[in-house]
Symmetry: C2
Subunit: 174 residues, 2 copies
DNA sequence: GGTTTACCAGAACGTTCGTTCTGTCCGGGC
DNA sequence: GCCCGGACAGAACGAACGTTCTGGTAAACC
């Protein structure tokens, strides 16, 4: 709800009704709407990390482990426990530009997770160019997410995966 | 200002002060804040298109014409007449999810412009796979923009360009 | 020269929304 | 049996902000 309709466009009252909880309870537990949003984002980040983990473990070669981020994204988005228009973290950072550090910290956390893991997964494929490959996959991944916001291309995840694949091949050759 | 601090976080009063214009004048000219924002977005889209045009014309081979979108993005962003945190269109669509059609129409216009031109520019390089290549470049482009929001990778445009280059090469080979 | 047009400054209005306050009720521990 | 922590519904508050209104000024035009 927060991440479908937008954080700013979802009043606290709706969250209360949806959760079947009273105003006072929410505010004693979280203190503010921003803190609640930050907590929701932290939960999403943990969930996302877990799903990604599974797909990396399930892959059986270096290339598939790197590309697993796209397969993980596909299954994360198919899970109706994680509805969102495109990316909860990028959207939150956009909507709440000047807002609480607590919130932009979660985007930073997501980005750091992606950067670190992609770098690690790129090493066996690209060696000393691992940083370049990791950057490229991160951009392909973010671009796929943005594709949902644009409504184009039709299959952003498949497109992002092909892009990352081509990048990996390009680095594998040299 | 609208696209640096965020549309929602920029009150009309600040725009008035900035523009040295009175409330009444703004409202007789535009009718509402949303309409003003929509107009600002339309102007940006026209500017962006013009800059992109120049870079396509200046390129002297098919590959560079396709990749010109990244060079255009770099010079568009360097021009201080077009400040923005990442992408005005994607940001506006995120901030004003349920808002006026007039606004989401501009994102649709940007996306259509990108999709059409990239497809056209992809044809000489990828022939029957032109649609795939165009999709890939669009994702690489959107990913580069998102990179500015993330603050990672450090040079999103260069990374996106490499990504698109690898995709073009991959399609050129088959 | 009077009228129209366009603009200005600033007050005022109405709505939305995050947050707090009031008063009530229930359930479990001594 | 009493008490207290925690939850509830709902009213109330206060700030922010988009929009409209009031009244006044100055140039453009017939």
């Amino acid at each position: 709800m927060l991440f479908e309709r937008g954080i700013r466009d979802t009043p606290v009252d709706e969250l209360l009704r949806r959760a079947g909880v009273s105003t006072a309870t929410l505010y004693t537990h979280f203190g503010s709407k921003d803190a609640l949003v930050a907590e929701a984002l932290r939960v999403r980040l943990a969930d996302w990390k877990a799903v990604w983990d599974q797909h990396v473990v399930a892959a059986d070669n270096d290339l598939d482990r790197l590309l697993a981020v796209f397969d993980a994204l596909a299954s994360y988005r198919n899970d109706r426990r994680h509805p969102s228009r495109w990316c909860a973290f990028l959207a939150a950072a956009t909507e709440l530009a000047d807002a609480a550090d607590e919130i932009s910290d979660v985007l930073a956390g997501d980005t750091a997770l992606l950067a670190d893991r992609l770098l690690h997964l790129s090493r066996p494929l690209a060696g000393q160019h691992a940083q370049d490959l990791a950057d490229e996959v991160l951009v392909a991944y973010s671009g796929a997410l943005a594709g949902f916001l644009r409504g184009s291309p039709r299959s952003p995840i498949g497109t992002g995966r092909r892009l990352a694949h081509a990048a990996a091949q390009a680095h594998g050759r040299d």
